[in-house]
């Protein structure tokens, strides 16, 4: 700021030495010569906060990272309604969060309250560090916030300064004040924040991840680290998930497998299937490729202590089915589906396709790639083509040098890839006009005259001349396809 370096954030040791955010770096160095200063990287901070929010999904699926403040401080909101008892109560949950984060080198403070605003205020401004003081009892926001400074209401620095100038330093000083003058003086924002903190106004938390109803988890008392162990854990989760899917007549279209590591990071593997699927063996084969790519390089003591399997996309799957991976003698769509899934998981779904007809006269537009198991009506239509068509078509028509009598006779000879082809027989022309009615059609979409020609060796080509004959213009010839 104005050429000065400003402290953005300071850790606990620095703060105890009297260094605070907003201080010029030179002043801080004067206070503590051994200060280690690093350049601020707000992008990385935001990313780290998002990682932390993701890690917190071990406690509840509803987590949301906070917007970073200019000072670089930020937090994560957790909606733990109905989750705390899984960890032995709210106090135990807080203690668990604190210990785990501390072990990972994150200094953090957490608080639980009825409202997000109150929890935010207590976590940041409560004077004591005792767990008992950080858990606000139900309905106790009024009392818990009373002694805290007004900055604890998540206000802008200007509003805070304005309130303090009036002598309103503590939150309880705002309780008896009439609302209308307060709102006129400081804006509706202050009243809204106050109401949100006290629970008079709802504050929705948009979760970091969408809530996934198809979710199973497996926690370990001791962290595991070997690929075989991870695979065995996954098998158990898959078996349980498939059992649940079968009960509800559903099949998974997409599955995500997340590993929570003791060092606070997560690893994720995702698979997709072309048909709704609840065959555990097939799903675990699809995962096998992905598990190979995960990182199992754990130094001692570290490992995976929680694995979560979710099915974000689930579709109805009616009939009970026999084993899908058995060799099928007839064309069972499930066996083909299993094959397509395996291919798509390694090569990517766009690499597996089927050619389906498109209603167009332009040769290059007459076909389209579609998912191989798509059974839509248009995908099952037949080709409406009565004229011979090449077996291979070049995506880009290849320019050739051709000699042809004017105005529109087939070429007598043409040169392609440095080889001269003498035309022995020919069919044509077949005139195909550009699709001028289509928005976004190339401006120069001209008429093409197609000829099917055979050279002296018997090779058959599909050539076309661009545009109508014009005495002043040399016609351009292209090779568009190869016949069988």
């Amino acid at each position: 700021m104005r050429g000065r370096l400003i402290i953005v954030a300071a850790d606990r040791a620095a703060q105890s030495a009297g260094i605070f955010p907003g201080q010029p770096l030179a002043d801080a160095r004067a206070l503590e010569p051994a200060l280690r200063a690093l350049d601020a990287d707000l992008g990385a901070d935001r990313q780290a906060l998002e990682h932390l929010a993701e890690w917190c999904t071990r406690y509840t699926p509803w987590t949301a990272p906070e917007e970073l403040e200019p000072g670089g401080a930020g937090g994560v909101f957790l909606d733990v309604s109905g989750c705390a008892h899984l960890f032995g109560g709210e106090a135990a949950l807080l203690a668990d969060i604190a210990t785990r984060l501390e072990r990972n080198g994150v200094s953090a403070r957490a608080a639980i309250a009825d409202t997000a605003g109150a929890a935010w205020a207590v976590a940041r401004f409560a004077s004591s560090n005792l767990i008992g003081d950080l858990v606000v009892p139900p309905g106790g926001q009024c009392g818990a916030l009373a002694a805290l400074p007004v900055a604890a209401l998540r206000l802008s620095p200007e509003t805070t300064a304005g309130l303090e100038r009036l002598g309103l330093r503590r939150i309880d000083a705002l309780y008896p004040l009439p609302r209308a003058p307060l709102a006129r003086r400081f804006g509706m924002h202050l009243c809204r924040r106050l109401d949100q903190a006290l629970g008079r106004l709802d504050e929705p938390i948009s979760p970091h991840l969408p809530h996934e109803p198809w979710r199973l988890q497996l926690a370990f008392a001791e962290p595991i680290g070997r690929r075989e162990d991870v695979a065995a854990g996954l098998e158990r989760l898959l078996a349980a998930l498939c059992h649940r899917l079968a009960e509800e007549m559903q099949g998974a279209r997409r599955l995500a497998f997340t590993l929570y590591r003791t060092d606070g990071t997560t690893q994720r593997a995702e698979i997709g299937t072309s048909l709704p699927m609840r065959e555990g063996r097939h799903l675990s084969r699809l995962f096998a490729e992905k598990l190979d790519r995960l990182d199992y390089d754990f130094s001692f003591g570290l490992g995976v202590d929680l694995m979560v399997l979710t099915a974000p996309v689930v579709e109805p799957l009616e009939a009970a089915q026999a084993s899908l991976v058995a060799v099928a003698n007839d064309d069972a769509p499930e066996a083909l589906g299993a094959l397509v899934d395996r291919l798509a998981n390694r090569l990517g779904p766009p690499a597996i396709c089927r050619l389906i007809p498109v209603e167009s006269h332009l040769p290059e537009r007459a076909q389209r790639a579609a998912p191989p198991l798509d059974s839509a009506r248009e995908a099952l239509a037949a080709w409406r083509q009565t004229r011979p068509r090449p077996v291979r078509l070049f995506a880009q028509p290849q320019p050739v040098d051709a000699i042809a009598p004017v105005p529109d006779d087939p070429p007598l000879l043409f040169r392609w890839r440095a080889k001269l082809h003498r035309v022995r027989l020919s069919d044509g022309p077949e005139r195909i006009a550009g699709e001028w009615w289509r928005a976004g059609a190339p401006a120069g979409a001209e008429i093409r005259d197609y000829y099917r020609v055979e050279d002296e060796d018997g090779r058959r080509f599909w050539l076309y001349r661009e545009g109508l004959y014009h005495p002043a213009k040399t016609p351009r010839w292209f090779l568009h396809g190869l016949f069988g």
């Binding site: 060799v327 094959l339 396709c353 050619l355 076909q367 020919s426 099917r452 020609v453 190869l482 069988g484």
Partner: protein, 279 residues
């Protein structure tokens, strides 16, 4: 060559040769004794007679080489084979897989050979390893009738793996090879394929009334065949009957037949329509 009239002993000998040569290495003894190689006949007696199995054996690897680079003949011939392989007698039609690096395949053209593109699954692989892997997966799964692979240079190991995968899944593997750029190198690459074919375009017969391009013709050579000998035919795609037929005698035969494989033997074969392999 002497003809053996004792058919039983011929069958037995064939089974022994097949066992020695490693076709169906993993077949059970019963399979071998019954010589139960499932085959897909061409429906062309001269071609079927030239193959020791009376047709193209399914669950095996076959190689199709194009006689010239950038020619659609091999793809067209493969499409006609896929039609035959996908529709086994009496069974429901089955899907086929086509693995290639670039997809220049054109649906309307393939449909012209009677291939049902709804049952044609295309796989695009970036590397040769990906393509071979996809072929093996397709063959082993048994979910498809046949797998076509356009792999420029699959070596002996790769072809062996494909042959074993074809046996395991009882699917037919067709390896489409593009010819070497250097014309001097006509020696075929070592391969574990059961049969190797070379397909080239041949001048079409004049169309009715002498105008335009006639029915497509292919010069189809059986270059290598386990337990068989080399042959060459001129086949024609008949648009009316939607099947391959033997082309009748050329009225306008080229001045000289294309050079055969060095070292190829002239095979006298009593076929009325087949063209003899000239050396």
């Amino acid at each position: 060559m002497s003809y053996c009239h004792d058919l039983v002993s011929v069958e037995a000998l064939r089974a022994r040769i097949a066992a020695l040569e490693g076709i169906w290495q993993h077949a059970s003894d019963i399979d071998r004794r019954q010589n139960a190689l499932p085959t897909a006949p061409f429906g062309l007696p001269p071609v079927d007679r030239a193959l020791p199995w009376g047709g193209l054996p399914t669950a095996c690897l076959h190689e199709l080489a194009a006689a010239a680079p950038a020619d659609g003949s091999a793809a067209g011939f493969a499409a006609t084979l896929l039609v035959r392989l996908g529709k086994a007698e009496g069974a429901r039609p089955r899907s086929v897989l086509w693995c290639a690096a670039g997809n220049g395949l054109y649906g309307p053209g393939l449909a012209g050979y009677g291939l049902d593109t709804r049952r044609l699954v295309l796989v695009r692989g970036r590397s040769q390893a990906d393509l071979l892997w996809a072929m093996e997966e397709g063959l082993r799964s048994g979910a498809v009738a046949a797998v076509v692979g356009e792999v420029p240079d699959a070596d002996l190991t790769a072809t062996r793996r494909l042959q074993l995968a074809a046996e395991a899944g009882r699917s037919t593997a067709l390896l489409l090879r593009t010819p070497q750029q250097k014309p001097g190198e006509s020696k075929p690459a070592p391969s574990a394929a059961v049969t190797a074919w070379r397909i080239g375009a041949a001048p079409s017969a004049p169309a009715p009334y002498g105008i335009g391009v006639g029915a497509e013709r292919w010069r189809v050579e059986l270059v290598r065949c386990r337990g068989g000998v080399q042959h060459q035919w001129l086949l024609e795609w008949s648009d009316e009957t939607h099947r391959l037929v033997m082309a009748s005698e050329l009225r306008d035969r080229p001045a000289q037949a294309p050079a055969g494989v060095p070292g190829a033997k002239t095979v006298p074969f009593p076929l009325r329509h087949a063209e003899r392999l000239a050396v």
